[in-house]
Amino acid sequence: MSGIKVFGHPASTATRRVLIALQEKDLDFELVHVELKDGEHKKQPFLSRNPFGKVPAFEDGDFKLFESRAITQYIAHEYADKGNQLLSPGSKNMAILAMGMEIEAHEFDSVASKPGWEQICKNFFGLTTDQAVVKEEEYLLGTPTKKLFEERPHVSAWVADITSRPSSQKILL
């Protein structure tokens, strides 16, 4: 199905969430580049796509959305019969899936994204990394970040699995 557009940036983790989902579902789409360095996401016309000024925004024909987790869920449901199954059958399995998504959103993301912003994104925007913030989060994510995952064999195996999928390989470079 054509007519899918993602307005975002290839380095943005939230944009990547959507791109990975589209790859999993074998869907054609167009990535419309939003130049974050120029603050394009904080100005019109982007703000009319997402009044909160964040990438990604999304279009499927004339249907418009923002918020990466709402977009990916829409893709998973609307294109349930295409590509890989991203949903679990049955309401109890769906509930457990929903719980996993909430854990990612509230327990993991708020902690992981801060050092990510400090160490990677600030560099990208030409800002100075605040080492105090990186150090503060060290007890949870360590330096290098990888160590915390490597110390946990099940987590390590899971990370290896999800990052080796063709969709991840394509999007994460």
Binding site: P51, F63, E67, R69, Q73, Y74, E78, M94, I103, H106
Partner: protein
């Protein structure tokens, strides 16, 4: 269905609102938060993050209030209020969109304000005024977006009440008891929306349990 928690917890109240909207029987199993019973091994075996609420439905144990409410709304989609607009994929996606907005834009700001104005004084400590100020500003910007949206639709995701509106209720109820209710009252569309949410029978059943009072400021 059993809900483990206390009606004074905003996250527990989300689940209770949903159960009442869906006209579903349940049992509220008290968890003594002040005695930190939610950090005991017996509780951690249900939710390793040590937070209320937890739902038990037969052999299913769930935590995270938004996952619990989504499950209840789906299981009982054919009775009570239509909280998810499940019959239409696009309407359902818009409900999810505004639920994500609540989760990622509204909640972090308002819960920081509530934490400092209500919880911190209960712990005998002094609120951090800079954090309160910073988050009031963020909250104001979110409410500016809501003010515009609610000028176009009666509720956040469209013209009917959904989970996207419900998720806002408990923290907003506490917020309106602080000295900063003006952030809502000074925005006519947001104010009208809030007053509508407070008129719902489910709200009238759950709000008496929201008993924590802010320090006068």
């Amino acid at each position: 269905m059993k809900v483990y928690g206390d009606g004074m917890s905003a996250c527990v109240a989300r689940v209770l609102l949903c159960l009442h909207e869906k006209e579903t029987e349940f049992e509220l199993v008290p968890v003594d938060l002040f005695a930190c019973h939610h950090k005991l091994p017996s509780f951690l075996s249900m939710n390793p993050f040590g937070q209320v609420p937890v739902l038990q439905d037969e052999d299913l144990t769930l935590f995270e209030s938004r996952a619990i409410t989504a499950y209840i709304a789906e299981k009982h989609k054919d009775k009570g209020t239509d909280l998810t607009r499940h019959a239409d994929a696009k309407e359902a996606a818009i409900v999810k969109l505004w639920s994500e907005v609540e989760s990622h834009h509204f909640n972090p700001a308002i819960s920081a304000v509530i934490h400092h104005l209500i919880v911190v004084p209960l712990q005998g400590k002094t609120p951090d005024a800079a954090i309160v100020e910073e988050n009031l500003e963020k909250l104001g910007k979110v409410l500016d977006v809501y003010e515009e949206k609610l000028g176009k639709t009666k509720y956040l995701a469209g013209d009917s009440y959904t989970l996207a509106d419900l998720y806002h209720v408990p923290y907003t109820y506490y917020f309106m008891k602080t000295g900063h209710a003006g952030l809502v009252n000074d925005r006519p569309n947001v104010k009208a929306w809030w007053e509508d949410l407070c008129s719902r029978p489910a709200f009238l059943k759950v709000s008496p349990g929201l008993t924590v009072a802010p320090a006068t400021n």
